[in-house]
């Protein structure tokens, strides 16, 4: 491409990334504001609103609920994901493609429909404890990511290693524990992190399933936006962004996600 074209493209990139990052950057800046309003630019910088948050039980509770749900759902999703990936990749199942399609379907369905359908189903079957509802629902939406991450990792492992282990006298369980599990570690870490972020981030499925004492963090922020508009929301949003960023970039460091072609 000619040189002016290159400059034009570079200029466009700068503008477009500014557009993409502006809302997030603004929140982070305003969360350190010392004033009572969300005016930009902030007059003074302080940790006032973070201190305010630390004294508010509802945010602490919501964070704990979100972390608990995300941890339990991710552990469950990874365990089921490892088993399913073993059967899909190594087992000679009939109709693997159909089964895999069915297992991936929660990815395709809009979350808002999954949420409503699960609400009606849980109500009809009498599963009333909202915490259990949340964990089960999140497990379902996280499982495809777990199966996919572990499956991709398993496809890269030479089956000859397992055969060798069996030939040398190890039984199936020992082969799994001593040979496969260590080799699968990157896939399992990626599966856990994808699941954790997916669960921690979810709004539209949780929206239907929460109870008064099991409000998750994004929903707490959502309800706050409707009636309280001060820098405390910016502060809690900054905490949210920080948690997600740390998890995502830790994952990036551990597994090198950006070197893979797909998202």
């Amino acid at each position: 491409m000619a040189s002016p074209g290159k400059w034009l493209l570079a200029g466009y990139n700068v503008l477009a990334y500014a557009f993409l990052l502006a809302p997030i950057a603004l929140i982070v800046v305003l969360s350190f504001s010392n004033s009572a309003t969300l005016a930009f630019p902030p007059q003074d910088l302080s940790l006032r609103w973070f201190r305010y948050l630390a004294g508010r039980d509802e945010f602490l509770t919501a964070t704990i609920v979100s972390l608990q749900v995300a941890a339990l759902a991710s552990i469950g999703a990874v365990m089921l994901g490892v088993l399913a990936a073993l059967a899909l990749v190594r087992g000679r199942l009939r109709g693997t493609a159909v089964i895999e399609g069915a297992l991936m379907s929660p990815l395709i369905l809009p979350g808002i429909i999954t949420g409503i359908a699960l609400l009606q189903f849980f109500t009809a079957t009498g599963l009333v404890r909202s915490f259990d509802r949340l964990v089960l629902a999140h497990l379902i939406i996280c499982m495809p990511y777990a199966i996919r991450s572990v499956g991709a990792c398993l496809r890269g492992i030479d089956p000859a290693l397992e055969d060798a282990s069996r030939t040398l006298g190890a039984n199936g369980w020992r082969t799994f524990r001593r040979v496969l599990l260590p080799l699968l570690r990157p896939g399992i870490v990626a599966a856990f992190i994808f699941s954790f972020v997916t669960s921690f981030d979810n709004v539209v499925v949780s929206m239907y399933l929460i109870g008064a004492d099991t409000v998750t963090l994004p929903i707490r922020i959502l309800t706050y936006l409707e009636w309280q508009f001060d820098p405390s929301i910016a502060a809690i949003s900054t905490v949210f962004i920080a948690v997600t960023t740390v998890v995502v970039f830790a994952a990036e460091g551990l597994t090198g996600m950006s070197r893979r072609p797909s998202v």
């Binding site: 491409m1 000619a2 074209g5 493209l9 466009y12 990139n13 990334y17 993409l20 502006a22 809302p23 997030i24 305003l30 969300l38 089921l80 994901g81 088993l83 399913a84 073993l86 059967a87 190594r90 087992g91 000679r92 199942l93 069915a102 297992l103 929660p106 990815l107 369905l109 809009p110 979350g111 808002i112 429909i113 409503i116 359908a117 699960l118 609400l119 009606q120 189903f121 849980f122 009809a124 379902i140 199966i147 055969d163 199936g172 981030d201 709004v203 239907y208 994004p218 922020i221 959502l222 936006l225 929301i233 910016a234 949003s237 949210f240 997600t244 950006s258 072609p261 797909s262 998202v263």
Partner: protein, 264 residues
């Protein structure tokens, strides 16, 4: 080692727990909210009322508009990402992943701060925020399609005498079509089913978006049957879109469309 087929049983059980509710919802959509047996009343109410038909048209039309704008704005970014050297690329991926992983509620809050109040609560705000939300998906999917274009192909086109513009038009654009289709489907489905964006920045026009109407019918009006019917209509729309997309992809012999990332 050949793992037994039983290993997949727990995952299948879990996925049954995903499909069973869909059946419950579909059945519920044929039950009147006034009570009684099976009926088409909920669907008759939806398709007989110009208000809901307009809402269907607005929801679908907006999703198309958002998809087209997102595609146009994202293509140059994906192209730059693809052509960038390793170092620049690792910076760009951080810049892309930050908005990609930021929670939708947080992003919407950022826009509430950024947009002037008179612009905020209305239809244009929905479009702007939806495009913002969709762009990282589109860029990443386009870039992953472009990653499959070998640099040698561009060079041979240049060697054969094609201008830069011509290489772009006749090599890069056609070969990136799988990404265009995949990104288009993902963004369209994401926009059709979006709840948070229209509910928070839509002002009065929020009532023209099916996901908002569905939530209101179920959570506020307690019309579970009618809400379920709206859900089935939304679901049908998503399935038809993905099916059509795959057909387009096959017709153009550009492989199966990856569809992913409908977090909501």
């Amino acid at each position: 080692m050949r793992p037994g087929p039983l290993l997949i049983a727990p995952a299948i059980a879990m996925i049954a727990l995903f499909f069973a509710p869909l059946v419950t919802m579909a059945r519920r959509s044929f039950v009147s909210d006034a009570g009684g047996g099976m009926t088409l009343e909920n669907y008759a109410r939806f398709f007989g009322d110009p208000y809901y038909l307009t809402a269907l048209a607005v929801t679908l039309g907006t999703a198309v508009l958002v998809t087209v704008i997102t595609l146009l704005l994202s293509y140059p970014l994906a192209y730059t990402y693809w052509r960038a050297r390793r170092r620049l690329r690792s910076i760009l991926v951080v810049l892309l992943l930050s908005p990609f992983y930021a929670n939708v509620v947080v992003k919407v809050f950022g826009w509430m701060l950024l947009l002037p109040t008179d612009f905020l609560n209305g239809y244009p705000a929905i479009v702007v925020v939806s495009v913002h939300r969709s762009m990282p998906f589109m860029v990443l999917l386009l870039a992953s399609a472009m990653a499959r274009i070998e640099p040698e192909w561009l060079e041979s086109a240049r060697v054969c005498g094609a201008s830069g513009r011509r290489v772009f038009r006749t090599v890069v654009v056609p070969l990136s079509m799988p990404g265009v289709v995949a990104g288009g489907i993902v963004v369209f489905s994401l926009s059709v089913a979006a709840y948070v964006v229209p509910a928070l920045v839509g002002g009065a026009s929020r009532g023209q978006f099916l996901p908002v109407l569905m939530y209101q019918q179920i959570a506020i009006a307690q019309n579970w049957g009618f809400g379920a019917a709206i859900g089935v209509i939304l679901l049908a729309t998503s399935i038809v879109t993905i099916g059509l997309g795959n057909r387009v992809a096959r017709a153009g012999r550009i492989g199966r469309v990856m569809s992913d990332g409908f977090a909501g």
